[in-house]
Symmetry: C2
Subunit: 333 residues, 2 copies
């Protein structure tokens, strides 16, 4: 299998990306990596050339570029070339830590949608707090600014597929994010989506969940529209970051006592931080495309790159996308 | 001024409510309290009868009652009687810690909307993390399952009014919650709302904000639809609760070392908890009604009741609702 890597995307590129690829190359000798970006920069951090090819380009997409314009105008950007390689059948998946909007655009316009999937969704496996082995897949986290009930039904099917094939969950519990748990709750969108999800017999639909319960592991797959998903994800991130800062301030304000206390709690605080900031489940998938297109955080570290490559490896090994193509082709016959 | 108190609402009623009223009665000798509920129960916790009247009723609305049905059928419920008292001009405001949906229904159907305000919104002053004196007013937090752009404009006006009159902020910065900060971002709803807010010259509209930035104090008033507002509020609450639990577990897992560490950090951890759980800004206002209708958390403690009474006192003193009635009456002429 061959992974096209945008080596220039993210705050710490190319160093973090290249170092992460080197770790992953060691884990997965069956993967060939093609790194797109500035050759001289990439080579600075490359410790091995096993299964690694560099395709040089000077152009890249910046974090503040307007996504669709950037994709159309910067034809030789590292991200665009990586997506193009997948389109041309020269690679099996795209990895990037760059501009999320641009990667979504590259995914939709270059890699392309699976037939009969109307609106691919951005999906992440989010952590269940207190249980690092566990997680839940949520989509759409913001690929779309709004969705129809039919899209939410497709997200249920997509998420359930991913949870089964990639995460190995036998019969994933699929839930709808709503403003109350009762069946009658919701907006026009969620009421109709509830009906569609309930009538889809292939799903183990468990009904509505509220945002307060998400991190408790109430479901394996959580379905929502892109606007709400985006707001919820950013609320969780913002609250967690603010609380960690507050905790740090509380420790500093205690002076020497605080330092002593923090030292005694070192391991506990470290595991707290690890649980918050670092996902062993990999990056965000733009799911519903003809190939895996995966985004990891802009501030990514090599270990996170490695975990995301692991995720891509599982997606390719299980052929989850190929199975989706078959499934949705069948549905429409 | 006279406040109608639903003494039977909330998890710790009537004790927490009655004890909180006693504290507030001491702060505000100009307030008369009418407590609706089981007289014998209320009297158990009543240490003073200064400015306090009890109106006995055996009926109450439970937390799992279906809101609209409960309001219609339980004509003598403590919450219904309190709302009725305001409608009849026997009291100036309603306070409850009970069933939120039922209080919204009682507010809309018994107290009634201000003329020309289409959809009253649920508004809270949420904390700015790291700055306990500061906060921002956000609405709608879930009074409505969906909203039109015109409602969001009204929320901007309502929130700005509250921030000026009740919180004493000279020229409140009003922002729209959106899925990106750029002007062109958003759903159909937020794009139209953006235009309306920008054209409303009476507002100091500062544009879009993202959910990640909310707790940083980027705005004084944040406007959103009820579905998103509900999801965001619950995401913030859920994340904060989960992180505090995780911190507790981290401390316990360290055994003796953890206990020592936590002891050294005691004051810091206490202030962290205080900042998270306890709002000095009071409860949630169903704003846009003919009188203040205020909800405090079901798990409320006497000190929170006191702060919420303080908030109601300011709302009555500044006559913010009376001024809204005048303002919206004028708008429609």
């Amino acid at each position: 299998m061959k992974i096209a890597v945008d080596a220039m995307g993210g705050d710490h590129a190319p160093q973090a990306i290249v170092e992460g690829v080197a770790l992953a190359q060691n884990d997965f000798p069956d993967v060939e990596f093609v790194l797109y970006g500035k050759e001289s920069e990439i080579k600075k951090y490359l410790t091995t050339e096993n299964n690694i090819t560099i395709v040089h380009t000077d152009e890249k997409i910046n974090s503040d570029d307007e996504p669709v314009k950037a994709i159309r105008r910067k034809k030789n950007a590292s991200m665009v070339l990586a997506a193009q390689a997948v389109k041309n059948g020269e690679a099996d998946a795209v990895f990037s830590a760059g501009n999320t909007g641009a990667l979504l655009a590259a995914g939709l316009f270059i890699v392309g949608r699976i037939k009969n999937i109307e609106r691919p969704g951005l999906m992440s496996t989010l952590p269940v707090v207190g249980n690092p082995e566990s997680g839940f897949d949520m989509l759409d986290l913001g690929a779309n600014a709004e969705n129809k009930p039919e899209h939410l039904l497709q997200y249920g099917i997509l998420g359930s597929f991913y949870a089964r094939k990639v995460r190995g969950i036998g019969r994933p519990r699929v839930a709808l994010l709503n403003n109350g748990t009762e069946e009658t709750k919701g907006s026009e969108l969620t009421k109709k989506a509830f009906e569609l999800l309930q009538n889809e017999t292939s799903l183990n639909f468990i009904g509505n969940v509220e945002a307060r319960e998400l991190l408790n592991g109430v479901a394996d797959v959580v379905v929502t529209d892109g606007f709400t998903g985006n707001a919820v994800l950013k609320s969780i991130e913002g609250t967690a970051m603010n609380l960690m800062d507050l905790l740090k301030t509380a420790i500093l304000n205690e002076g020497f006592k605080g330092k002593m206390g923090a030292m005694l709690l070192k391991d506990g605080l470290r595991s707290l931080k690890a649980e918050m900031y670092y996902s062993k489940h990999g990056g965000a998938v733009l799911f519903g495309l003809k190939a895996p297109v995966i985004k990891t955080h802009g501030a990514t570290v090599p270990e996170a790159v490695r975990q995301t490559i692991k995720q891509i490896h599982t997606m390719l090994e299980t052929n989850v996308v190929g199975q989706l193509v078959e499934q949705f082709g069948k549905n429409a016959e």
